[in-house]
Symmetry: C2
Subunit: 198 residues, 2 copies
């Protein structure tokens, strides 16, 4: 499949996902901007999230089970509710319960290696230094991601190792990160517009 | 500076760093393997580490202060000693104290875009899907990195929010990750050898 065919297919699939309300709102302006160019299109994306999940201690990624995901700042009460539910239901027997905060991430198809090079140059300048071209065939794909990441184990085998006061503290730290994430997304939107859309 | 000049400079600088004992031992066989090829050379690297650091809550990366780094599995006693030292000395007044576990990371210069493409293909096949080309000029550079990452905030403003039992738990989880990290590094070494050195 060449670049234009792939782009058309991705835009159709994005339109359907938007109709179903499955695209994180905060990232939609950036996706629309990228897709308005002739050199780029987006495939998958996430605007940044806080999540609760369980994974076996010596586990494979595929054994990862999500208990909750929030694409926004959270209240400690709603997190505690899910933590208690997971503990009571024995959901993480044999596994570690994780509270995570991940930055936005998006995958961008690029018409040429030169276009991909310009895009990663912008990412590095904005401080998103974990970004890079992760595939070159049949045309380059860039992953854009910020460096911030929090992953805190809360307990194992249905036993919590922290108290509510600690979870409140972690939630406060994560909410600050989510604010910073939104600012970074906005900055990327502005700079992408300035450099590739004018 | 062209590829061969840059490679010569990087090898000289690696040799000096090794003489000073500044290169993590676990990653040396892989560095030597990569540098033995005509298509690749390494610049910076880390074999994976557990660290204790403090960073202002709304902080810049540059305000990051390391309290301790270990390029190996750790004992809870040595971590507690550093945590207590940091708390007593007021080192993280106004900041968050973090315990982190990061996978190996290395940067590889590649003679051509085609070589870089082969290298990232290998990385993705091995599950190191955060790897990618982060720079194209004057020749491509690839960052190889595994996906595992733990970053747990322990306290703020010189006040711990967790007890020793929790730190013991986190250290156990991190030590399992360090074991898995070593296996991944070994696997990368074997596959790089099979694909690029024979």
């Amino acid at each position: 499949m060449d670049f234009d065919e792939h782009k058309k297919k991705s835009l159709d699939s994005l339109a359907r996902a938007m109709e179903r309300g499955e695209v994180d709102e905060g990232i939609i302006p950036l996706l629309e901007l990228i897709n308005s160019t002739t050199s780029f299109f987006t495939t998958s994306s996430c605007s940044g999230r806080i999540s609760l999940s369980c994974v076996p201690l010596r586990g494979k990624k595929k054994d990862h089970v999500f208990i909750a995901k929030w694409h926004r700042k959270v209240e400690v009460e709603e997190v505690m509710e899910k933590v208690k539910m997971a503990t009571a239901s024995g959901m993480y027997g044999g596994a570690v319960l994780w509270l995570k905060c991940e930055s936005f991430i998006l995958h961008v198809g690029c018409r040429s290696v030169r276009d991909a090079g310009e895009l990663i140059k912008l990412c590095v300048e904005l401080g998103f230094k974990r970004s890079g071209i992760f595939r070159l065939e049949p045309f380059p794909f860039v992953e854009i991601i910020a460096t911030d990441y929090i992953a805190t184990p809360l307990g194992i085998d249905n036993r919590l190792k922290v108290d509510e006061d600690y979870i409140k503290f972690v939630v406060d730290v994560m909410n600050v990160r989510m604010e910073e994430n939104d600012k970074k997304l906005k900055k990327l939107e502005e700079e992408f517009n300035r450099r590739f859309c004018q």
